[in-house]
Amino acid sequence: MIRGCERAVERLFFGAAFISALITISIFGFMFVFGLPLFSGGRFPEIMTRPWAPHLGVFGIYPMIAGTFAVSLLAMVFAFPLSMGCAVLISVTGQGRLSRLLRRTVEIMTGMPTVIYGFVGIFLLIPLVRGIFGSGSGMCVLSAALVLAVLVSPTMILLFCDSFERVPPSYGHAALAAGATKIQRFLHVTLPCAGQGIIIAFTLSLGRAIGDTLIALMLAGNGVQVPASLFDSVRTLTAHIALVFAADHDSLEFRAIFVCGMSLYLLTAILSLLARRAGSKRRQQ
């Protein structure tokens, strides 16, 4: 009796895990099936490399791919040193109360709604960027990347701090005993030992920057072009989906967003896998 109940509950738990896994797979399945008409006849390379001009029957997503990378990589260029600096301030150079306070602030920042960053970005940052750099509309790669950097930094900071804390304290004690300062201990012992953790933090944050829709949609201008400068209007894959999803459901235009969806799916999945690999490497150390 109890055996049977036990077995049944285990099945139930397994069922829940299975459903969740099934969702993950079926999301990909949907992207693939809906995007299928664009894949037939070997048109895949064409889609990935051509520009977007629906009125000419060209449904390439190359500009959006370029836009996604431009915005997210630039955001990482800002966010990485910023986060590293803040993490160092929290765990090395900052002291007692101040470092705790900063940490709390950062923790709370992880809960800021994205739409609020976008909202303030439109009314505060856009006119500022336009005013300072003189030319252009202010809706550009730079504005989106700046806000995105602020968006992903808190999580990255906490992950950095976490990876510093994982370094066994005995290593640090050894360095301190040899006469190292706190900063020397950090640079010579903690940082090299936290390598995998830093890789994890970077990949996961990059995934988040690539996957963010709202900031790019509200601040990047959504122009379909391969950006040539920081002040060009661009459209990311995510924003493209949000802008075009209302199109005719049988048109190739509509199908193309599922190709975008699939590219994003694969991209973020690869990043998740890379982070997992770095994680298992860290455990082995």
């Binding site: 856009i126 252009g136 509309s137 959504n222 379909v224 072009q225 209007s233 199109a247």
Partner: protein
Amino acid sequence: MQSIMNPLLGAVIFSLIFCTSAMAGDLDSFKGDKGELAIAGGTAHIPVMKEAARRIMTANPEIRISIAGGGSGAGVKQAGEGLVDIGNSGRKPSDEEIAKYGLHLFKWAIDGVAIIVNPGNKVRALSQEQVKDIFAGRISNWKKVGGVDKQINLYSRDEASSTREVFWKTALQEREIVANVNIIASQGAMKATVSQDPFGIGYISAGFIDESVAAVAFDGVMPSQQTVKEGKYAITRGLYSNTKGEPVGLTKKFLEYLFTVEGQQIVAEQGFIPVQ
């Protein structure tokens, strides 16, 4: 296409002629009704839809009307797919779409598409050639059209927008739009953006113009209710509401309401030209 809606229009006109005590009576048809009505599509239509919905729902709280944007493309498609009851579009749906979905069209207003700039910009008139050159990227500085020595910031609408389509067909005569144009997703956003960008240029439904942006004369004609009505202003279009098949029940009553005196008054108040 008028022929499709003739019987309905006839009935509406008939009731307009013989119904002298219009205002209070126009909402009477909703009495005792209940149910939900979903509307989506063209963003130019939203203010009219909102006001009409507000009056109907105040008169009869049992009725629920939801209004979403999404653009004219979405309006036509979602109505055709049966995802909404009424799909709005700022253009006449193509014959192909009408045949495919079995759409019924109701044109309840005429609207101009106005070119707008920031009120701080001195440029107040452009020729069609200048507009074409600006949006093709051949003219990229306000100095060339009589303004200050600043780069022109271009704003255009998304692919699902009928304002874009009308503007592109009529004003630009289907010429290329340069790639570095900024894409804005709605009428309101366009107005908001241009009102904030001293060197921007864009286009919106004439009904949306207020003091935060300045309209530009197109080939010497300022867009206004008057010039649009008289046909002097070149870039015009109809505002349509579309249904899949013959409208029935609440959908029908809502559309009829748009053609009543009160309904057409709302249209005029929101800056569009009533069809009546």
